[in-house]
């Protein structure tokens, strides 16, 4: 066995033997997503041991929630995930409504669904062309940013903010769609569709891309449940999971779509699932725009948010983010402040337990593709 094992079966890696070298990938590295680092022990260019280090971005959000009123938590919670802040808004608003027993008008739920799908599309427009950047094909990422900006323009028009929106609030949303919004979004979707054809030719038909991503970072099917793997990573292993279909929230049960599955479970399969997710999201946005009512009440009556005592209780709320299941656990103690809000994002397991195991015996140049294919996002780990 290489490396040799000790009495407990743990590998013995003596750095003084000069067979092994310890290197750090990150926290500042072009192939690392966000502020995290990997402590790698290598032999030649093969990884023998990997350890994830987080904590470079710890802002103590869960501690801050305890000292803030429910409405004051919104500007904080959205900063937990920079690329996709709306899922945090939705989960926090929905959790507060469930604890306080507030019914949301249907129009607000349709707009929430539109916002969540737009958020998913803008993340995927950054992620799908950007994933080839990990093996040196950075062109797609630069093209993709333009199309992402088109969706951000729509967000700015709707909410006033490009990245952080604070549009979904307890009881509903902040307003109705502006006049002509659907037509402008439809124009953007057409552009995105034609761009995706370019991406298929540039990335998914690229021989180097296929060679570098097929057959590496394979996640066996029996890891899914013990490791708590969710979202596109689980779907790439043929495991049927999608919170929108399994636990329909908002009006997802009125839309027609299916699980995007692949079976190889390697890096390429995970990239393929995300590519299919783009088509699904564009289709869902069209279905939502066709089915949603034009007018209606968009906000339910809520008590004065600055003096709102939410009744005692606890609940969990989950939604499907672009990376997988995103869950909030909320405990209220009957005061104006939440007792505990705990967030569990997909990266909590993907970037720590799964990544550390998956990198063993991988080549050092494959670290970045494997890491990006798992869609690691450090702020979810260090809330």
């Amino acid at each position: 066995m290489f490396p040799e094992a000790d009495e407990q079966g743990m590998p013995v890696m003596d750095l003084d033997s000069q067979k092994y070298i310890k290197i750090w990938q990150g926290p500042n590295h072009p192939g690392v997503t966000g502020n995290m680092s990997l402590e790698l022990t290598i032999s030649g260019d093969e990884i023998m041991h990997a350890k994830t280090h987080v904590g470079y971005l710890h802002r103590g959000f869960e501690k801050l929630f305890e000292r803030r009123r429910y409405i004051q938590c919104f500007p904080t919670c959205i900063r937990m995930c920079v690329p996709e802040p709306d899922i945090n808004e939705y989960n926090l608003a929905r959790g507060t409504e469930l604890l306080a027993g507030i019914d949301v008008p249907p129009m607000a739920d349709w707009i929430r669904m539109l916002v969540l799908e737009m958020a998913r599309l803008q993340v995927l427009l950054r992620m799908v062309p950007g994933q080839a950047g990990t093996i040196g094909l950075g062109l797609g990422a630069q093209w993709g940013l333009y199309y992402r900006e088109l969706i951000l323009d729509r967000f700015e028009e709707l909410t006033g903010g490009r990245i952080y929106h604070m549009y979904i609030l307890p009881g509903g949303v902040r307003g109705l769609l502006p006049d002509g919004f659907k037509d402008r979004l439809e124009d953007n979707l057409k552009k995105v569709e034609s761009f995706m054809k370019d991406i298929d030719r540039l990335i998914y038909s690229n021989a180097v891309f296929k060679k570098r991503t097929k057959g590496i970072g394979i996640i066996p099917n029996d890891w899914i449940e013990p490791y708590g793997i969710t979202g596109p990573v689980a779907r790439a292993a043929g495991y049927q999971t999608d919170i929108r279909l399994d636990y329909p929230y908002l009006f997802y049960n009125q839309l027609e779509f299916d699980y995007n599955l692949e079976h190889e479970s390697d890096v390429f399969a995970r990239f393929r699932v995300r590519r299919k997710d783009v088509d699904t999201t564009v289709d869902l946005l069209r279905q939502i725009m066709a089915k949603m009512p034009d007018k209606g009440d968009f906000k339910a009556e809520t008590p004065n948010v600055l003096h709102w005592k939410v009744p005692k209780g606890e609940t969990i709320v989950r939604c499907e983010s672009s990376r997988g299941e995103y869950t909030f656990y909320m405990v209220a103690d009957g005061s104006m402040y939440p007792r505990r809000i705990n967030l569990r994002g997909p990266s909590y397991t993907h970037a720590v337990a799964v990544l550390e195991k998956l990198l063993i015996n991988a080549n050092i140049s494959d670290v970045s593709p494997i890491m990006v294919s798992l869609a690691t996002c450090p702020p979810e780990i260090e809330r």
């Binding site: 501690k63 449940e225 606890e314 869950t327």
Partner: protein, 175 residues
């Protein structure tokens, strides 16, 4: 879901059964009965996914609540299990043998709440806070404001205003 609760009730002393949403039930249990119960739920009742594993500090009762939310992906059910332990002797049995990623949760709980899980791999390794020498920061008696005032110092010459009085002076200077 009610059949399941009746079945569990016959074998384990659960109390405070609350249905927070359809298909989502929270129950309370004695800490010593936790491992047999979740092992049984995982192997016999299909609760194979660990969704949430966290702690809540009830400082007024001198207790920590540890919450395990298990999910049954086939039946689409969630079961939250609450156990209460004393804050002074915060030790709980490890579940790293049941779920591979449980060790990560336990490492974080040890660091943030000071709850020990003897035998969990790497539980004493720092997770986020390297070189931390204060009380665990997620405990409610940890005062963030006092800590930052003691640890970080304001630049000399910088004025600090109380927001309420400052805004009152700005908006209604004549009052």
């Amino acid at each position: 879901m009610n059949e399941l609760i009746d079945h569990i009730k016959a074998r384990f002393p659960i109390y405070d059964v609350i249905e927070s949403q359809p298909g989502q039930i929270f129950v309370s249990l004695e800490a010593s009965k936790l491992i047999p119960m979740i092992t049984s739920l995982k192997t016999n009742h299909g609760f194979t996914v660990l969704v949430i594993f966290t702690a809540v500090d009830w400082i007024e009762d001198d207790k920590f609540q540890i919450t395990y939310v298990l999910n049954n992906p086939k039946e689409k059910q969630d079961l939250g299990i609450r156990v209460f332990i004393h804050r002074d002797d915060a030790t709980m049995e490890s579940i790293h043998h049941l779920w591979k990623h449980a060790a990560t949760f336990q490492r974080e709980l040890k660091e943030m709440f000071g709850i020990d899980f003897p035998g969990s791999p790497g539980v004493d390794d720092p997770f986020l806070l390297e070189g931390w020498d204060n009380i665990p920061p997620m405990r409610r008696d940890f005062d963030t404001k006092k800590y930052s005032e003691e640890t970080y110092f304001p630049r000399p010459g910088r004025e600090t205003n109380d927001p309420a009085t400052f805004m009152k002076q700005m908006l209604y200077p004549d009052d």
